[in-house]
């Protein structure tokens, strides 16, 4: 087995060469800066490379989608971000956006059209689900064989946009044993990070939301808690640390595929 270096294609380079990739991959601020979540960006790119997908990223031209600013009440800042991003995306003639972040997914899909940004937006779980259904993506390895996996629904993929099946079907395409938490799909409990909570102290209460949710996930006996959102990843990882249960892994859908393909 040999290793090959991946040079992640930049939109600006491709554009200069007169090339147009099929997908713009939106890395997101967490994907670029959060140490744990950077690994998810790397996994996502490896899988896309393995599958020979035509894509590029914005690189240093990328900026916050504005989701957190908007939900924290700063509509002014959100709109400035939205207009700037739309200008860049439209400038490159972007038609399809692929992202691992349900918040960016939601904002691009539902909120950017108000600012002239009309794109076909894919959450990576939906994208990989489509490839599995079409038979392009197979995960034959035994990496997850006999392992118990559970899935924590991100609010902005699930309730906000009604996507519950795609991430589950990706997990079920591995030989893992899939177990649901008591509160799942539209009944799922939030990880506690949305609406700006990720960046501030929680209000006074009996306990933290992420601990409540992590306990529920551990209650399934899972060895891997799968997530599909940068916020959820931070919160569940913190929860596992807090419960001193770090032998349990918290993996993104992209990482599960990457490990299954042994990339």
């Amino acid at each position: 087995m040999s290793k090959r270096k991946i040079e992640v294609p930049l939109m600006s380079d491709l554009h200069a060469r007169g090339e147009q990739p099929e997908y713009l991959v939106w890395i997101g601020s967490a994907g670029a800066y959060d140490d744990r979540y950077k690994k998810v960006s790397r996994s996502l790119i490896k899988v896309l490379t393995y599958l020979n997908i035509s894509y590029a990223v914005l690189g240093v031209e990328e900026s916050s989608s504005g989701d957190v600013a908007r939900r924290a009440g700063n509509e002014m800042l959100f709109q400035m971000q939205a207009m700037t991003n739309v200008e860049i995306l439209n400038g490159y003639g972007v038609k399809k956006i692929l992202t691992a972040d349900p918040h960016a997914y939601n904002t691009f899909k539902n909120e950017y059209p108000d600012f002239g940004g009309h794109y076909e937006v894919w959450h990576h779980s939906q994208f990989f689900h489509k490839l599995i259904r079409e038979g392009t993506l197979h995960m034959n390895s035994d990496v997850f064989k006999d392992k118990i996996l559970t899935f924590h629904d991100p609010c902005y993929l699930g309730r906000a946009n009604g996507e519950y099946d795609a991430p589950r079907d990706v997990i079920k395409a591995t030989p893992a044993e899939f177990k649901e938490m008591p509160r799942h799909k539209s009944f799922a409990l939030c990880c506690g990070a949305g609406g700006g909570q990720m960046f501030k102290e929680a209000e006074a209460g009996d306990r933290e939301v992420f601990i409540e949710r992590t306990e529920e996930a551990l209650g399934t006996g899972a060895e891997v808690i799968a997530t599909a959102c940068p916020y959820c990843m931070v919160m569940i990882t913190d929860g596992l640390k807090y419960k001193d249960r770090e032998e349990v892994k918290n993996l993104d859908i992209a990482e599960i595929i990457e490990q299954s393909l042994e990339l």
Binding site: D34, G59, K200, A202, E208
Partner: protein, 439 residues
């Protein structure tokens, strides 16, 4: 004839009070702001058929949901009988709709069965409220008056169902006693009727009349009690679902007044294209009840305080002060408090209080994770997060008084395009030294 006059007078009083209430509520609506336009009537109709008539969201709690759905469907059937009673009362007829034949038998028969089912369901509801500790019926917003209101409404419904069964039973037994033909089908009350076999025909007639009057007068009273009760939802829940948003829960609506400002900021030429209008400068976001949209006020009137929203709220579950039910109820409370004076003295009237802080605290607003569990759960599609965000918009854009940690991320996003304080130049560091295995 006397009966008709008395009836028509009672009906006129009922309609009079109802009309007064209607215009009163309409005046409150005129104090509120615009919201999304009501388009796509076909989609709205199917949403109403599914969520309101089909009761799909109430079934998210299957057992108690089934009881509620039976009460609701029963009401729809019994309503036809009530309309007949009004016609009978005005015209002095007896069972005026009997000309419908078999259809009439089905309607009256179904109503007769539903009367028993509803009575049993109401007894279960009352028992739960009075003797069981159901967590979602508690909370700071659920003071004594709220529980009394709930129990009054349930008791009135129970009286309605008992009097309906009584009316039917005495009707059947009286017809048997005097040898009249029976109109309609009575699958339940024909088994009750023989209990009164020992009564004379006159007594049976009298008891029938008593039940008839009790039933219709309680309906008249109930009709005018509802708008002042949490049970306003009997009227408003179906229209509330019809009017509810069709967009995915994840979408927040764009503030057009902010958009204008941002466009001018980002494109100086735009400032010249549109001459400065004489438009009234509107406050950003919601501080007080006159800032809420008509739809949010509609939500607050339609809310029946069931607490399904609060029961699934992650903040509430973990002991924070936020209760989505309370936030919605506070809109109605505040309108009740301030609305009458605003109608009298104009929209600028101030009582030196506001919905923000005097009713809804910042602590409640900032505890929300915008997870949409409340909106997903609400059986009548109330949208709590949109109001919470509107109030945050006021705090952030008018007062700059959001939590310090959030102000810091705003500054970071402005300066370097990310909530964290990293240089935008480092946005590709994650991609360094990235290798893939090749077999």
């Amino acid at each position: 004839m006397v009966k008709q006059i008395v009836f028509i007078l009672a009906l006129l009083v009922t309609l009079g009070v109802f009309t007064y209430t209607f215009f009163r509520v309409l005046a409150y609506f005129k104090l509120t702001r615009q919201d999304y336009p009501i388009r796509h009537l076909g989609k709205r109709f199917s949403q109403m058929m599914k969520v309101a008539i089909g009761q799909t969201k109430i079934f998210r709690r299957p057992v108690i949901g089934l009881l509620h759905a039976l009460v609701f469907w029963g009401f729809l059937v019994i309503l036809i009988g009530s309309i007949e009673m009004v016609v009978d009362g005005i015209l002095g007829t007896e069972r005026a709709f009997r000309a419908l034949g078999v259809v009439y038998d089905v309607i009256i028969g179904a109503g007769d069965v539903f009367a028993l089912i509803i009575a049993v369901a109401i007894l279960v509801f009352l028992f739960r409220r009075l003797f069981l500790h159901v967590k979602r019926f508690t909370g700071i917003e659920m003071d004594h008056k709220k529980h009394v209101d709930a129990n009054i409404a349930l008791t009135l419904i129970l009286i309605l169902m008992v009097s309906l069964l009584g009316m039917n039973a005495f009707y059947v037994q009286h017809a048997a006693a005097v040898g009249h033909e029976i109109h309609g089908a009575f699958p339940v009350s024909r088994f009750i009727a023989p209990w009164f076999a020992s009564l004379s025909a006159d007594q049976l007639y009298l008891y029938h009349e008593i039940n008839w009057w009790v039933h219709i007068l309680v309906i008249f009273f109930f009709a005018n009690y509802l708008p002042y009760s949490k049970h306003f939802h009997v009227y408003l829940s179906v229209p509330n679902v019809f009017l509810s948003r069709l967009d995915p829960l994840g979408k927040l609506y764009t503030m057009e007044n902010v958009k204008k400002e941002v466009q001018m900021m980002m494109d100086p030429n735009a400032a010249f294209e549109e001459p400065a209008g004489e438009e009234e400068v509107e406050r950003f976001g919601v501080k007080d009840v006159e800032d809420v949209s008509w739809k949010t006020y509609f939500d607050s009137l339609a809310c029946t305080q069931c607490g399904r929203c609060t029961a699934v709220c992650p903040a509430n579950i973990t002991g924070k002060k936020l209760s989505p039910r309370k936030v919605i109820m506070d809109v109605r409370e505040r309108m009740k408090e301030k609305g009458p004076q605003m109608i009298k003295q104009g929209k600028d009237y101030s009582d030196n209080k506001a919905m923000l802080r005097d009713h809804i605290t910042e602590e409640e607003l900032w505890a929300c994770t915008l997870c949409n569990a409340c909106a997903e759960e609400c059986p009548i599609n109330i949208n709590h997060p949109s109001l919470i965000v509107e109030m945050r918009r006021y705090l952030v854009m008018e007062e700059s008084s959001g939590p310090g940690d959030l102000n810091a991320i705003f500054t970071n996003i402005e300066n370097n395009g990310a909530p964290w304080q990293y240089s935008q130049e480092d946005r590709m560091q994650w991609a360094e030294e990235l290798y893939i295995n090749e077999s």
